[in-house]
């Protein structure tokens, strides 16, 4: 399980960084960081893990 989820907004549009640098950052839907955080927390509590591809779908 990754220890953290990294989101950057270096170019305006937010990107999620794949855990363990497994690939390039991917665009996600623009929303407030609070919403992103809640999606990540709900996902990790539900899955007891971070399933990256599923989390990506939830953030898109």
């Amino acid at each position: 399980m990754p220890h953290e989820i990294i989101i950057d907004s270096h170019h305006g549009t937010p990107h999620i960084h794949p855990p363990r640098k497994d690939g390039s950052p991917v665009d996600i839907l623009a929303r407030s960081m609070e919403q992103v955080r809640e999606i990540v927390y709900r996902h990790s509590e539900r899955k007891q893990n971070v399933v990256y591809q599923e989390l990506l779908e939830e953030l898109r």
Binding site: H11, S24, S32, R37
Partner: protein
């Protein structure tokens, strides 16, 4: 909790950063030919083209941020006393190499390098090439903010 590393720079500082990081526009294009899936580099190129075409914006401020959402307690280890001291020292002092920095901190050079790589992956700092292929760590982040869960300030911190 959200840990937010923020960097504010002018357009002309951004253009200097592109030169340092990729060796200019040609270097950036070659980088993208080698790594076509590097989204951030692709957007660096997009920004570079835009700002090169709009020199009147050179003093415009750009605000960039990396937000870390901790999923486990181990994520908080980025704020160990050693790592905080490392960031603090880099904020006011320059070093010619990682070895010099490690010596100044009284720490093992490999451990310092690992910490620097961790912060580099968060774009909190970058390495510049120095003499004899040494790597010079340079702090990019101007502020680090901790936003607790349920804090109203998270609503104000938009990622767009």
């Amino acid at each position: 909790m959200i840990i937010r590393f923020e960097q504010t720079q002018t357009v002309s500082e951004f253009l200097d950063e592109i030169k340092r990081r990729y060796g200019g526009e040609t270097g950036l294009r070659s980088h993208l030919e080698r790594r076509p899936r590097d989204v951030l580099a692709a957007e660096d190129l997009e920004d570079l083209e835009y700002y090169t075409a709009h020199p009147e914006l050179q003093f415009e401020k750009i605000r960039r941020a990396v937000s870390v959402i901790p999923v486990t307690e181990k994520a908080l280890s980025i704020f160990s006393p050693e790592r905080l001291k490392l960031l603090d020292v880099l904020s006011y002092k320059k070093f010619g190499s990682i070895r010099q920095l490690a010596k100044y901190l009284g720490r093992d050079v490999h451990n310092v390098y690992e910490d620097l790589k961790r912060f580099q992956s968060l774009r909190v700092l970058e390495f510049e090439r120095g003499p004899r292929n040494s790597r010079i760590p340079r702090l990019l982040a101007h502020s680090i903010t901790i936003i607790p869960r349920g804090s109203a300030s998270a609503k104000a911190v938009e990622v767009t």
